[in-house]
């Protein structure tokens, strides 16, 4: 059991899960922002790891990774940062968002051990498709951590087997392409999500390109919840200078919190 698999998360309607890049622009600022996102109403948190080749990410998150790398961001730092965030009062489920290569370097066994110690509940690896995931999925599962799978509009006949492997939640990629803001979405998404919900008990969350309050409400109605990344990361990016200065940081964090509150208010 982890925080994701508990009823509090599994049965709640209209989930909201934000993504942020750990260490953007510093780890200290990130941990404050994490707590602020929880206060704004986040039901879980995706905690990004800076990486040199984030090929599923658009320019906004690429830039965030660069900002984090400037102040020493990497996988060990992301783990240490979560430990710090927990000390600051973060209690919602946390998902480590990383590409395959940093995990290979760290070693999957060591990572599992350290993720548990840092207070993580799951992991999401965007370049690890179902076929390559079997070994790792079992290892995470044995250790009470969820490996969150992704399904895309192009998954077609792969949907069933992926859905059935889901633990924690399932990430439905709303549109082809990389992470980043979108203005429109395909009509067939609602049908796809309904089909996935037939195969799995876990919440199906929609992400990729969800930018406005209207988007959030739309996806909370057709899916079990919405994931917002780039829109929030962009706000954090705008506050880079204020977040780097200890005198202005608290106000910057407040502005980010207000932005998120407005994003998800009904």
């Amino acid at each position: 059991m982890n925080r994701l698999t508990q009823p509090g998360f599994q049965t709640k309607d209209a989930l909201f899960v934000p993504y942020m890049m750990s260490g953007d622009p510093t780890m200290d600022a990130s941990t404050d922002i994490a707590v602020a996102l929880q206060e704004a109403g986040a039901d879980a948190l995706e905690w990004g790891v800076p990486f040199s080749d984030p090929l599923a990410d658009g320019p906004v998150i690429q830039e965030a990774g660069k900002r984090a790398q400037k102040t020493g961001g990497n996988l060990p730092q992301a783990l240490a940062g979560m430990k710090e965030a927990r000390k600051k009062g973060l209690h919602i489920p946390a998902v480590l968002f990383t590409y395959v290569n940093p995990v290979l370097t760290y070693g999957v066994e060591a990572l599992i051990h350290d993720m548990k110690e840092s207070g993580f509940d799951g992991i999401l690896i965007p370049d690890l498709p179902y076929e390559e995931s079997t070994d790792w999925r079992e290892k995470f599962l044995e250790n009470g951590l969820s490996l969150v799978p992704l399904i895309a509009p192009s998954s077609q006949n792969r949907t069933e087997k992926i859905s059935k492997s889901a633990d924690g939640f399932l990430y439905y990629v709303t549109s082809l392409g990389v992470t980043g803001e979108r203005t429109s979405f395909s009509e067939k998404i609602a049908d796809d999500i309904a089909a996935i919900q037939n195969f799995t008990e876990v919440p199906v969350l929609a992400g990729f390109g969800i930018t406005t309050n209207e988007h959030v409400r739309h996806f909370q109605s057709i899916a079990d919840g919405a994931i917002v990344g780039s829109a929030i990361v962009k706000e954090i990016g705008k506050e880079e200078e204020a977040l780097l200065d200890s005198r202005t940081r608290a106000d910057a964090v407040k502005r980010i919190k207000s932005f998120v509150e407005a994003l998800i208010s009904y």
């Binding site: 990486f51 040199s52 290569n101 965007p126 370049d127 498709p129 992926i162």
Partner: protein, 610 residues
């Protein structure tokens, strides 16, 4: 995976035990009129003591038998597979499958005109195939082989249907090597393992040994040993599956083969010659040096082989937009050339840094009608251009064909690019035989991503020819400025494949250094990683200085200006030639010409006369 082996015509408990101890994967029992006919209850007795785990699969051979008899026999003998060897129809096969749940039904196809169509008739009905020699009076079992040139077509069709396929008829320890060159999925052997009328254990072992050495990568998961695979966002998985299926179907078609053959010959200039480098041989001493002249191809390098072939594949798949990544611009130019020739739209992703360094190639691509997209992300070089091409592909996966330029990327790309470049090695084998009457002692090629090397090496694997790939050691292996991925890298995933990578302590991949723009890739094709780790190919590294030195030698002694990439292979030849005698030949893949590098060469050598 090595080819699967079926020993057929087992007639005693001793045959069964011998076949299993030799390591057979399948055992065949004849239940049709034949000198090898057996009774189902005997089969049950002979196989009763075989271990239940991992035991060879028991196959019963029937010719136009009654369904009820087959069912009864299968039950009594405990068969795993029914092999229909007569004139059964797809309806019969289907009915048999329904009646015998848990037992697979294979269909024998006799090699004759229309045999491929007949295989297609059994799609979704047969669980597997066996192709046997057609004879006037008998349904196979005559011990004669058919023309194995047809084997790849049968294999492709079975692969397309996703089912196993055995090649049968006249296979012996003496000719198995010949058949194995066609990479069959499985071999069915009967008279070939007999002496007189008896099965012969030694012959079984000989055949098994021959197949154990067979190189058959990638496997079904797209892996070369530990390496390769498909590490891509879920959005692309469907496109990769679709590409793999299309590759197998389309490249098996006669029209595709003929058209590609025409383009390679009449447009690109294949076959390329092999030139004897007499003065270089004299200067270096030792082995006779031969050059496989890929530099003579249209656009000046081997890249065009793959660009034309993938372009034609894209066209047949109905894709209208081609995208490609490029570092130095050679693959970009080859792709833009192909797109102009085939009337396709073409976008080339190129790092902003590389665009500055390779201004002329940028202009060349635009002249050819391609759109060159400046990549500002990351370090703004080839690695980032590849990321950006993948990002574009993810967003436009329905209409776009991503034409990867080397044996890198997710499966099936490393396999596809290798197979489209193997023409280099295939021609070399033929030409060396013509010119020297023998194969070289060693074949050498430079390795960045590794496509010219894979093209040269693949047909030579396990042939006894020593194979050597040359990486760029840049300013030296003990400096941080090198691109020697295999020598200095660590296992990791980049651009969709597991291979060796030049990376930092946290798994961030960084730009390697080489004087040659075509070798400074932080990864290497996954198949090279496997070939190195399994000891099949030998890899060495050569510095900038050694490469430039060899480049000057070839210019002055042979009147050929090679690409700086290629000069790395030549620098190794300078080192290695001496260790051979004059009776040995050394073959170098002269992968590209150096006109594109004149500017760099001038800067390094200062334009001074020597």
């Amino acid at each position: 995976m090595r080819p699967q082996i079926k020993f057929c015509g087992m007639r005693s408990k001793k045959d069964v035990v011998n076949a299993c101890s030799a390591g057979a994967d399948y055992l065949g029992f004849i239940f049709a009129p034949s000198k090898r006919r057996v009774r189902p209850e005997d089969v049950c007795e002979w196989t009763a003591e075989l271990p239940q785990n991992n035991r060879a699969l028991l196959t019963g051979v029937f010719v136009d038998e009654e369904e009820t008899t087959i069912i009864q026999t299968a039950k009594t003998a405990g068969l795993d597979i029914i092999q229909c060897h007569g004139n059964e129809t797809s309806v019969d096969v289907h009915a048999m499958k329904t009646a015998l749940s848990g037992v697979q039904v294979f269909k024998t196809i006799h090699h004759e005109s229309g045999a491929l169509l007949r295989m297609k008739e059994f799609e979704n009905a047969a669980d597997g195939f066996l192709v046997d020699t057609k004879t006037e009076h008998s349904m196979g079992g005559t011990g004669t082989a058919f023309d194995w040139d047809a084997v790849p077509e049968y294999s492709e069709e079975a692969k397309r249907q996703g089912v196993p396929i055995f090649i049968a008829g006249g296979i012996t320890a003496g000719n198995a090597d010949e058949l194995l060159k066609y990479h069959p999925w499985g071999l069915d052997i009967s008279s070939g393992i007999e002496t007189g009328d008896e099965k012969d254990y030694r012959k079984m072992v000989t055949i098994m040994k021959k197949t154990a050495n067979v190189y058959a990568f990638p496997d079904e998961l797209g892996r070369f040993g530990d390496f390769g695979g498909k590490y891509v966002p879920e959005t692309l998985m469907y496109a990769l599956t679709q590409l793999e299926e299309a590759y197998h179907t389309i490249t098996a078609e006669e029209s595709f083969k003929a058209e590609l053959q025409q383009e390679l010959k009449r447009y690109a200039g294949r076959p390329t010659e092999i030139t004897y480098a007499g003065s270089l041989t004299e200067a270096y001493g030792g082995a006779q040096i031969y050059l496989k002249r890929e530099d003579l191809l249209h656009t000046g390098a081997h890249k065009i082989n793959n660009a034309l072939a993938q372009g034609l594949l894209a066209k047949k798949m109905g894709k209208t937009e081609i995208i490609a990544e490029t570092g130095a611009g050679q693959h970009g130019v080859a792709t833009a050339t192909m797109a102009a020739r085939f009337g396709l739209s073409c976008k080339v992703f190129m790092g902003a840094e590389d665009m500055k360094r390779q201004e002329l190639n940028v202009f060349r691509m635009r002249l050819l009608g391609a759109e060159v997209l400046e990549v500002q992300s990351g370090g703004k070089t080839l690695k980032d251009a590849t990321n950006e091409a993948i990002r574009h592909w993810v967003a436009n996966v329905d209409t776009t064909f991503y034409l990867i330029g080397s044996v890198v990327g997710p499966h099936p790309y490393p396999m596809i690019v290798r197979n489209f470049q193997r023409v280099i090695g295939d021609e070399s084998i033929r030409q060396m035989e013509e010119i020297c009457g023998k194969q070289p002692a060693e074949a050498v090629a430079c390795v960045g991503g590794g496509s010219n090397a894979m093209g040269m090496f693949y047909p030579y694997i396990n042939s006894g020819v020593r194979l050597t790939g040359i990486e760029a050691a840049g300013k030296g292996m003990d400096t941080p400025d090198h691109a020697a991925t295999l020598s200095k890298g660590r296992k990791g995933v980049l651009h969709g494949a597991l291979s060796y990578l030049i990376q930092d302590d946290h798994g961030n991949v960084f730009e390697p250094y080489s004087i040659s723009a075509g070798l400074d890739y932080p990864g290497i094709g996954p198949e090279h990683a496997h070939l190195r780790d399994s000891g099949i190919v030998n890899y060495e590294a050569v510095t900038d200085d050694e490469a430039m030195d060899a480049l000057e030698d070839l210019c002055r002694l042979e009147g050929i200006l090679p690409a700086i990439e290629t000069a790395h292979a030549l620098a190794y030849v300078k080192r290695a030639a001496k260790s051979y005698s004059e009776d040995d030949a050394l073959l170098v893949c002269l992968s590209g010409r150096g006109d594109k590098d004149v500017h760099t060469i001038q800067q390094v050598l200062g334009g001074a006369d020597k």
